[in-house]
């Protein structure tokens, strides 16, 4: 064991097995509650899965770290010089310091980027290296990450969790802090802004929620205070980039891209990219927007150029490469090919060009026949192959919940340009293999991760320079502009949350009555609530009238526990989660925690038959409280900007629709059968208390209708929702003009007036058939025009989503 590990190991022994288990449960809860996830491609069932973190950090002492820092700074500087040459004079190719074929055939060599000026002459504003330690203690570089290095956000999240769980150990170990690195990062980005505009708008461009590291994009955007955008949120006008917001187009100064450069502009780069921003490269060329890392920087990411780094380092920097790359041969050179073919069983064979995708081939694992085939392929197309030595990896202890086990590890270290050099994050993302036999470290293949503790030489004075990390995470929403896409999602989040609440309330009203003693009041209540549920489509595809066979309670239970049926509780809840997921960077961490707990509660299997009804009732009780907490937190944690307004519009609109449905299906247009029917409606609308405080126990239809539809003071009435809708819509950007009121404004005003001028006594005046025509007219109008309001809003504000980009059909000749 290395000596600098001993304090940690001593502390862990002192905590003991039980203690560590307890602390670690807490750690996992934190990860789950914070929504730390990693998407696994090719897994249709789950779009994301929990982030695997091991409680025992990797510890590196100050001296060893100094060596790593110096070596990686040198490497970043070197790669930067290489890129500047390849996209400029190309002397390295002319002089054969790098084989021209390697670059000319590389699909990461983006020809349109040649000669495009990059801000401050820097291509790699950020850089990461995957490094590994050999058993003899030497560090090796396994891979370079030069496009949009991922994982710094996960490293930060690992740190947040490990300091919470091992706080006492952490404090006594003099571990260097990560926060300054992110400060430098922010400053570097500010320096890159063209024309040094004050208050520049910086956006983080993500490929979207289906990307493997989307969590990190959202997390970093929030941590650094930048707007998270997708390609569709940006547009290029007159060779400048703009963010499409509700308030109009806002200029963008700097784009932090988290997608491969070739996908960034369908006009000049990959024409099949739907993720990019058409015209972006022209805007960059004109110097109107900066992109980091510079477009084209993916060129030096693959293994083949690494084979030439040692002599390039001597040539360009006049010094030896301080940390070696794993021995690499590009087979396009005859002597390299000869060496590789002689030593195949000791080597890993990889594609030389990234578009020739194949998994690494381990020479040692091939049968004689496979080996022969590979040799033939390599002789025919030698330039397509790169061979690397297999490194023996050192191990670190990993806790498997019983004991510490040795595993191989790879450390990803992050650098950011600072002045003429680079700042190195004192720490990084440590990833471990799943078993000791495995040499593949990959989150895609189920590996785990660790926090990385870099020890300081002395008690660190940097303590005082720093804000505590927990405080740094505060969100500064006031400066964040609202893309139309986000407004759209917030609107739907509001609608789904409200819909779920209504379904829960109706279901609870039914179940609680079923477990009571039988009487006519009870029956009328069940019947009315069941009609509401069935007519609104929450019992699944079959309308109740065609499936009367199953007793109501069975259908309600099925709706609760069967997540597959469309329109059911599970389905609606899934919609809430889906939309919330699209909004991950907009929703407070606390609200996320609640949402994640929801999911846990609902993934528990249905209890055995005799307990089902009571279990379901208490589940629903619990649910209503959690749901209120969720919407409360979401609403309360947002500043009263347009984002909040659209969330509120969604909620109000949905609640009004649900209340209208409640009257329409639960009561209808004639007198109630008995007071049980009216009671259940009041209960569902959470208005029993108000009713009783006003009218005591006497039940009258007109009073109930007044309370549920017309009473603007009752927060559960349709009138209240309409009044709020009008207020919200009044504040929207399109409503500002007094002379040209937009259609949604006029619609909202008309609907509000309709309920304001209605009188309960008039509504229940029967015609010659005993039918309440006036009520029917009002309710029908609301039922038709409320969805219309939703459509009108969509047309006015979210229309961008409708038009999909397409390429010009090329002409043929």
């Amino acid at each position: 064991m290395r000596p600098h590990w001993s304090p940690l190991v001593d502390s862990l022994s002192a905590i003991g097995h039980g203690g560590l288990l307890g602390r670690w449960q807490e750690g996992r809860r934190l990860l789950h509650d914070n929504g730390v996830t990693y998407n696994v491609y090719g897994d249709p069932a789950a779009t994301d899965r929990p982030w695997p973190l091991d409680p025992v950090p990797l510890v590196i002492n100050a001296r060893e770290w100094n060596g790593i820092e110096t070596a990686l700074r040198q490497r970043a500087t070197l790669l930067n010089h290489i890129l500047a040459d390849l996209y400029g004079p190309r002397r390295l190719l002319r002089d054969d310091l790098l084989p021209p074929e390697l670059i000319f055939r590389h699909d990461g060599f983006l020809r349109p980027c040649t000669g495009v000026a990059v801000p401050r002459g820097i291509y790699l504003h950020t850089y990461a290296a995957d490094i590994a330690r050999a058993p003899d203690g030497r560090w090796w570089v396994l891979a370079d990450r030069t496009q949009a290095p991922s994982g710094a956000g996960y490293a930060l999240e690992n740190r947040l969790v490990s300091t919470r769980v091992l706080g006492d150990v952490f404090r006594s170990a003099q571990v260097r802090r990560l926060a300054r690195f992110f400060e430098v990062y922010r400053e570097t980005l500010r320096d890159l802004v063209p024309h040094h505009r004050e208050n520049p708008r910086i956006v983080l461009l993500t490929p979207g929620p289906y990307n493997e590291t989307y969590f990190e994009h959202a997390f970093l955007a929030r941590y650094l205070g930048f707007t998270l955008v997708e390609g569709a949120d940006l547009t290029v006008r007159e060779n400048s980039v703009f963010l499409k917001t509700l308030g109009g187009l806002l200029p963008v100064d700097l784009i932090i891209r988290r997608q491969d450069d070739s996908f960034c502009d369908p006009v000049e780069l990959r024409e099949d990219s739907m993720l990019g921003v058409a015209g972006l490269l022209q805007a960059v060329r004109m110097g109107n927007v900066a992109v980091t890392n510079a477009l084209g920087s993916g060129l030096v990411e693959s293994a083949a150029p690494a084979a030439f780094l040692p002599h390039l380092c001597r040539h360009i920097l006049g010094e030896e490469l301080k940390m070696p790359t794993v021995a690499t041969w590009w087979c396009g050179q005859p002597q390299a090919l000869a060496h590789v073919l002689e030593n195949l069983p000791k080597l890993v064979i990889k594609p030389a060009f990234p578009d020739h995708r194949h998994e690494p081939i381990f020479g040692a694992r091939l049968s004689p026949r496979q080996l022969e085939k590979l040799v033939a392929e390599m002789r025919a197309f030698p330039a397509d192959y790169v061979a690397q030595e297999q490194v023996a990896l050192a191990t670190v202890p990993v806790w498997d919940e019983r004991q510490l086990q040795p595993r191989h590890f790879v450390l990803r270290v992050y650098l950011v340009a600072e002045g003429d050099s680079y700042a190195v994050m004192p720490g990084g993302l440590t990833r471990v293999t799943t078993s000791l036999d495995s040499l593949v470290v990959s989150m895609q293949h189920g590996g785990g991760s660790k926090d990385t503790w870099v020890l300081a030489d002395q008690p660190a004075p940097e303590f005082s320079l720093l804000r505590p990390e927990a405080a740094a995470i505060e969100v500064n929403r006031a400066t964040i502009d609202l893309p139309s896409r986000i407004a759209d999602n917030l609107f739907w989040l509001g609608r789904y949350v409200e819909r779920v609440e209504m379904v829960v309330r109706v279901a609870r009203a039914i179940l609680s009555r079923i477990s009571q003693e039988s009487d006519p009041l009870r029956e009328a209540g069940i019947e009315a609530a069941y009609r509401v549920l069935a007519a609104a489509g929450h019992l699944g595809a079959e309308p109740a009238s065609t499936a009367p066979s199953a007793p109501p309670e069975r259908q309600v239970l099925a709706m609760i526990y069967d997540s597959a049926s469309r329109g059911g509780l599970g389905w609606n809840l899934h919609q809430v989660r889906r939309v919330a997921w699209l909004l991950r960077d907009r929703i407070s961490a606390d609200a996320w925690q609640i949402l994640n707990r929801f999911e846990q509660e609902f993934s528990t299997p249905a209890p055995a038959e005799p307990l089902r009804i009571s279990a379901a009732t208490s589940l629903l009780d619990h649910f209503i409280i959690t749901l209120s907490a969720f919407s409360g937190l979401v609403m309360e944690s947002m500043t009263r900007g347009h984002g909040w307004r659209f969330l509120d519009i969604g909620r109000r609109l949905e609640r009004a629709i649900q209340l209208v449905d409640l009257v329409r299906y639960g009561l209808g247009y004639q007198p109630a059968t008995d007071s049980g029917q009216l009671e259940v409606l009041l209960e569902i609308a959470d208005s029993s208390l108000t009713y009783r405080s006003r009218y005591l126990t006497s039940m009258q239809e007109n009073l109930v209708i007044d309370l549920l539809l017309l009473d603007e003071a009752n927060p559960r009435s349709a009138a209240f929702q309409l009044a709020r809708l009008r207020e919200d819509i009044d504040q929207l950007p399109e409503s500002v003009s007094l002379t040209h009121r937009p259609p949604e404004w006029r619609l909202a005003v008309r609907l509000l007036t309709a309920v304001q001028v209605a009188e309960a006594a008039e509504l229940v005046r029967p015609d010659e058939h005993g039918h309440w025509v006036n009520l029917e007219k009002l309710v029908t109008r609301l039922a038709v025009e409320l969805p219309l309001l939703s459509e009108t809003l969509t047309r006015s504000y979210f229309d961008h989503a409708v038009a999909a980009p397409q390429l010009y059909a090329p002409e043929s000749n």
């Binding site: 002319r94 000319f104 006009v267 058409a278 090329p810 043929s812």
Partner: protein
Amino acid sequence: MALRVTHTTTYTYSNAVSVSHTEVHLAPRSDRTQTPIEHHLVVDPMPESLIARCDYFGNPVTHFSIHEPHETLVITSTSVVDRHVLEAVHPALTPSWEQVAQEVGKHDTEATFEALEFAYESPRVPLTPAFAAYAAPSFTPGRPLLEAGLDLCHRIFTDFKYDQRATTVTTPIDQVLQKRNGVCQDFAHVMIACMRSRGVPARYVSGYVRSARQFASGQASHAWVSAFCPGFGWLDFDPTNDLMPAGGHVTIAWGRDYSDVPPVQGVALGGGEQDISVDVEVVTQGS
């Protein structure tokens, strides 16, 4: 001799396009075979911005974007070029194709270094063994490059059938080689693949050919091949018409293959179904 080219491209959409970004290779480039005299580009509707520059290969390119809703987009390019008649090269005087490959591999002059880039596979031109095999009878040991090139050009002209319905712009060229039919773009790609698989740099030339009965591709843009020969520069071959372009061709742009120099490319937001029509006219100036 001066040639006047009028090239009109019309896109018609079933729904309005709200935004479009377009890049065009429509202006003739200057080289030893021609001098551009005049060029006008008219875009309807009028673009919000229009910028002309040179692309990576030195071809003139124009970038424009339109931000008003439009159901049709009409791009009209009118150019006049003066074509120069070069002295014919005697095939036997050119170096052997092996020497060419070797010289370029060494790339110790500016010209050979520039040519090197056209010696490798490119997005539309994969170098599968089938092309090397097809090229073999033309590339006999020690044969002067121009002889080999003319022979290859003639064989493609004879072996392949010109058929506009046989291929689309995206048909892979191994399929063209297998089926032996296609249009000028396909023949140019096949010839390029054959030459590169023998180590000879070859580039794709996009342009026009004067409308005359004996030439194919009168009503559209045209494409041919240019191969590098140290000491002689780039030599043009038109496998669609089995000749070396002289006075009747107009060069617009060159690149590794079609994907570097499409006449019109871009992205439109919305639009629904799209329909494209192209009209090209090449006439002798003053006639």
